[in-house]
């Protein structure tokens, strides 16, 4: 048996690779797609989807489209007075609204009479007046608030008048 050298090619001259072993060009895209071991690289989208869903839920919850708002019909200051002069009818019922001592609450005076329970009493008062025939639903009612009365109280008085089915409610001219 012939002795086999440790490295049989050690002394042999370098040989050209055989024609069969020509390396073909591999595109960059394919190289990127395949890893070192030839396995496909995949993008892990899980975390991105998590974030997207979080964003979606946030926007869905915070979007309210202002559906909790409604309106009450009102007449601007001056218009009711002009109408009254044109029609030459009785003077309007005046609701005076003054600020309480604390600057938060308000006092309500209707035709010179104070309603101690405030706006909670106003609807019943007008309904009583209409029921007894002292007022009609189409009587002109003017709201005359003091300058430092909060808008909250003014709209509440307006709302009580509408609830009592009064048809001509407006602000007193300044």
């Amino acid at each position: 048996m012939a002795e086999r050298p440790d490295n049989p090619n050690a002394d042999a001259p370098l040989e050209e690779p055989p024609d069969e072993q020509v390396v073909h060009h591999v595109s960059q895209r394919k190289k990127r797609k395949k890893g070192v071991g030839g396995e496909e690289i995949e993008l892990n989208l899980t975390s991105m989807i998590d974030v997207i869903f979080q964003l979606l839920i946030y926007f869905v919850i915070t979007a309210n489209f202002q559906i909790d708002e409604g309106t009450i019909l009102a007449t601007l200051p001056g218009n009711a007075a002009e109408n009254r002069e044109q029609q030459n009818i009785e003077p309007p019922v005046v609701i005076e609204l003054t600020s309480g001592d604390d600057g938060i609450t308000s006092r309500l005076i209707v035709d010179g009479r104070e309603l101690r329970e405030g706006v909670a009493q106003l609807r019943g008062y007008f309904e009583g007046q209409i029921g007894s025939g002292e007022m009609a639903k189409d009587d002109i009612v003017q709201i005359k608030p003091q300058g430092v009365v909060r808008w909250q109280h003014v709209v509440n008085v307006f709302n009580a008048c509408v609830a009592a089915e009064l048809e001509q409610v407006g602000f007193a001219p300044s």
């Binding site: 989208l45 989807i49 997207i52 869903f53 964003l55 979606l56 926007f59 869905v60 915070t62 979007a63 489209f65 202002q66 559906i67 909790d68 708002e69 409604g70 309106t71 009450i72 019909l73 009102a74 007449t75 601007l76 200051p77 001056g78 218009n79 002009e82 109408n83 609204l97 600057g103 938060i104 706006v119 909670a120 609807r123 608030p145 003091q146 300058g147 430092v148 009365v149 909060r150 808008w151 909250q152 003014v154 709209v155 509440n156 307006f158 709302n159 009580a160 509408v162 609830a163 602000f171 300044s174």
Partner: protein, 187 residues
């Protein structure tokens, strides 16, 4: 010459591309709508009414006039919202009642600035006239004021709005056109 391919075990996979498309569209939709709503109706603490008679106005063409307070509100401890129904009345009404600005859409006029009310009147008249010419009837004019502001500060704005209506419409039509006071709807 034919190629013989050898496939390994098939891994089931879910194609989530259309899902991501739809979710992205939804996000974009909500972002845009949120911005539009905020532009048209800024965040205000509206009046909370006892036995509310409020309703949703019907009709085409709206001019929403917002009256913004000078002092901002602190976020509510429970809900975390700065404003909204159910905020403690004391917080709303114990703040200063001064008005900062009046707005229509994206346009804001700081009332202490010189000529601001004149500009507001001209813009309001233009908005009312444009909608009247388009629809053939006066638009719905909504007054959306913060619950805590003083009536004395709202009154000049209402007078200016009335002037704008007189500028934009025939006198009789202007006198007959009401405004709509905005408040929270009942639950």
């Amino acid at each position: 010459m034919s190629h013989v391919t050898r496939r390994g075990p098939v891994k089931p996979s879910l194609n989530i591309t259309p899902l991501i498309d739809v979710v992205f569209l939804l996000i974009v939709f909500f972002m845009i709508v949120n911005n539009i709503v905020t532009d048209e109706v800024p965040e205000l603490q509206l009046p909370e009414l006892l036995d509310p008679q409020t309703s949703t106005p019907e009709g085409e063409g709206r001019v929403i006039v917002n009256i913004v307070p000078l002092q901002a509100y602190e976020p509510d401890k429970e809900s975390g919202r700065k404003v909204g129904p159910g905020n403690p009345e004391l917080q709303v009404l114990s703040r200063g009642g001064e008005v900062k600005a009046v707005t229509i859409g994206k346009n804001e006029w700081v009332i202490t600035e010189e000529g601001a009310m004149k500009e507001f009147q001209e813009f309001a008249a233009l908005s009312i006239r444009t909608r009247f010419e388009k629809n053939g009837k006066p638009p719905i004019i909504m007054l959306r004021a913060d619950a805590g502001v003083y009536y004395g500060q709202v009154l000049p704005i209402m007078n200016t709005l009335q002037q704008a209506m007189a500028d934009a419409l025939e006198p009789e039509l202007a006198a007959e056109t009401p405004i709509q006071l905005v408040a929270y709807m009942p639950d």
